[in-house]
């Protein structure tokens, strides 16, 4: 096993990996940018090194600098987390050249899965079910023929695309030409690659993915599925395991396909095969993520395994400590991604100081967090603060537990999407597991219904607001000196200032 591992990431996933290292007796090395000196992953790691200024390309994406740190501190391996360099094959190659183990798949597998069309070709060859369409770039004329053969509506996609860019839905032959050209120019602008292909459009699909795990001795297993259909603009918001619509038979079929896909790609370590599932429960290959997923905890809770421990063991050359038949699913897990963003204001990011943090705990509650009370969330990175994951014996109990945990969660000082989760968890379609990738956008299009009994609570809120004001007014009169002192710290609002004074008193 490695003696020292560098984590080329920040936020909750860096802390997650640091914890795994601590548990395995591995020294952990954090890297940080100028604005992250106070970040949680810096103080939790055994070592920490500055790698550059705030912009990610100069710090967390700075391959040369990160490898230099790894060499200097003697790290034997690098865990990339997710995002940043995690799917960057060039970085994986650079690690190999620097004789630092990249904790992930071989660069070849990353490159293969990085190109939509190459991946489609390879997966098709491996017998993985595909959405009908072309496996390679097409001319407009070819695209029109293909659309005619698979039947409208179709999707036009950029081969190098991602995050919805360079994608167009085409409902009829008439729209084909203009859509093809806009998609192509968008693809050229965004990815500097105009390759375009065509797929049949699957209406209201579910997004269901299979977790695979392969060692470097040819063994590959799958760890069940994750239901990730609750998305906003292709961004997952809530994930769960298992999926309410997947029976044991379908799970085995999807798993077998996923294992086959991974093997054919020469895949090792943790990876995820994403599928679209249509109303008839047909599943089609969407793409493979060649890294640890944000939502890996739900798989950990239902399998009882620790994916980061296993990643480290696999990367250090160990064989998988179990076989497929040893893996069983138990209970139900749900994850909510806590973001510093404002659902009532078009999900605009809301960085700033976390003035108060009350965290849920107790039975079946897991919080993977990258923040703490008093920390200022920087403007420069992804606004995810933490993940709240719950486990219970079945889906209804897990939903009820998540609601309870959300009631205990409180983040003061910045906007978060906490309020949105309750709306989702109380929606009859979510409760009945009638969800597809359009579910959340449909929900957001409807106005939030005031939770029941709210009216009666308004009086309590009014009285409380007055009590907070009165208590702080009292403090002010008693010690205006302290108030002015605290006022020097440029608090934006009188309310905040008085809350401070309150704080002095309460401590």
């Amino acid at each position: 096993m490695f003696k020292k591992v560098l984590i080329a990431n920040r936020g909750e996933i860096a802390v997650r990996v640091i914890r795994a290292c601590r548990e395995m007796g591995i020294a952990s090395v954090a890297v940080f940018s100028d604005v992250d000196r106070n970040a949680l992953h810096v103080s939790k790691a055994d070592e920490a090194y500055l790698v550059g200024p705030a912009p990610a390309r100069e710090s967390y994406l700075n391959v040369a600098k990160i490898l230099e740190v790894a060499k200097r501190c003697g790290a034997e391996a690098i865990h990339p987390g997710y995002g940043f360099l995690s799917e960057n094959a060039a970085f994986a190659r650079a690690c190999a050249d620097a004789r630092v183990k990249f904790i992930g798949p071989p660069p070849s597998a990353m490159e293969l899965m990085g190109s939509k069309t190459r991946a489609r070709t390879a997966m098709k060859a491996a017998g993985v079910p595909m959405v009908p369409g072309s496996a390679r770039g097409l001319t407009l004329a070819e695209a029109e023929d293909m659309a005619a053969s698979v039947g409208f509506p179709v999707m036009i996609k950029a081969a190098a695309g991602g995050g919805g860019k360079g994608m167009r839905l085409v409902k009829s032959p008439a729209e084909m030409k203009s859509s093809f050209e806009t998609a192509q120019s968008e693809a050229l602008r965004s990815f500097n690659d105009g390759e375009i292909y065509v797929e049949k459009f699957i209406e209201n699909p579910r997004h269901i993915e299979i977790q695979v795990l392969g060692d470097e001795h040819g063994n590959v297993v799958f760890l069940g599925e994750r239901e990730c259909s609750v998305q906003r603009r292709h961004q997952k918001v809530i994930e769960e395991a298992p999926s309410a619509v997947i029976g044991e038979d379908m799970r085995q079929r999807m798993g077998a396909v996923a294992v086959q896909a991974a093997k054919s790609a020469g895949y090792t370590n943790a990876g995820t095969i994403e599928f679209l599932v249509d109303a008839q429960r047909n599943f089609y290959f969407l793409e493979m993520n060649t890294r640890l997923q944000v939502e890996h905890p739900v798989t950990e809770l239902v399998t009882g395994l620790d994916l980061v421990h296993l990643q480290l063991r696999i990367a250090s050359g160990e064989k998988l400590p179990f076989q497929q038949q040893d893996i069983t699913l138990r209970g139900h897990a749900i994850e909510c991604r806590l973001y510093a963003e404002d659902p009532e204001n078009n999900f605009f990011p809301s960085p700033g100081k976390i003035t108060k943090l009350l965290r849920p705990s107790g039975p079946g509650v897991r919080e993977d967090s990258g923040v703490y009370e008093g920390w200022t969330v920087p403007l420069d990175y992804d606004p995810m603060l933490a993940k709240l994951i719950v486990y219970a014996a079945d889906r209804p109990a897990a939903i009820a537990r998540m609601r309870r945990a959300l009631d205990e969660y409180f983040v003061g000082g910045i906007k978060t999407n906490l309020g949105l989760f309750r709306r989702i968890l109380e929606h009859p379609d979510f409760v009945a597991a009638r969800i597809d990738t359009g579910f959340l956008d449909r929900l957001l299009a409807t106005k939030a219904a005031a939770s029941t009994g709210t009216e009666s609570l308004a009086e309590i809120a009014a009285v409380s607001a007055a009590l907070f004001a009165a208590a702080s007014a009292q403090k002010n009169s008693q010690n205006s000196s302290a108030t002015t002192e605290i006022a020097q710290q440029s608090q934006p609002s009188a309310w905040k200032r008085t809350a401070r004074t309150e704080g002095v008193r309460n401590e």
């Binding site: 009014a462 907070f468 004001a469 309150e502």
Partner: protein
């Protein structure tokens, strides 16, 4: 102390008297036998007729919310005797409305000049954070009286960026 608390256009008149260990409370003239304790900064434990409420005060920029259980209420508290409140009150009567930054960020574009006539809902200032842009709209129709920032300026949550009269 007397406060006027506004929640969703409803105004609640709350009278509070601090006694030895407790608060005496009247809501719109009606006595409420509350038992209130500040258990942590910004967290209040309120007992009323046996019901227990854990109430949290949420301050984000210029906005204050009160969270009761999982219900959240935007509140405006006014102390009729306080100078600042009178000012504010006065201001709103005169119909001056501010555009404030909903979160920290950078001003990337100012879309109207001082003195210009703007319509309610018209975008006036664009600020950016975490690679996302946000158009701040005029809260009312009127004349753009003041702009307190320039393009490229970094702004704090709650900072007043412009005034419309």
């Amino acid at each position: 102390m007397i406060y006027e608390v506004t929640i969703a256009e409803m105004v609640y008149r709350v009278e509070l008297v601090r006694t030895e260990q407790a608060w005496n409370c009247k809501l719109n003239g009606r006595v409420l036998p509350i038992d209130a304790v500040f258990v942590q900064e910004g967290v209040l434990s309120l007992l009323l007729d046996g019901k227990s409420y854990e109430v949290k005060q949420e301050i984000i920029g210029a906005e204050t919310n009160i969270v009761v259980g999982h219900a959240r209420f935007g509140v405006a508290v006014r102390d009729p005797r306080s100078f600042r409140s009178r000012q504010r009150a006065g201001a709103s009567e005169q119909g001056v409305k501010k555009i404030t930054a909903p979160m920290p960020g950078k001003v990337v574009r100012i879309m109207a000049a001082v003195g210009a006539q703007v319509e309610a809902g018209q975008s006036v200032i664009v600020i950016e954070a975490m690679k996302m842009q946000n158009e701040l709209k005029a809260p009312k129709s009127g004349v753009l009286k003041k702009i307190n920032v320039v393009e490229g300026a970094a702004v704090e949550a709650g900072q007043s960026l412009a005034e419309i009269e």
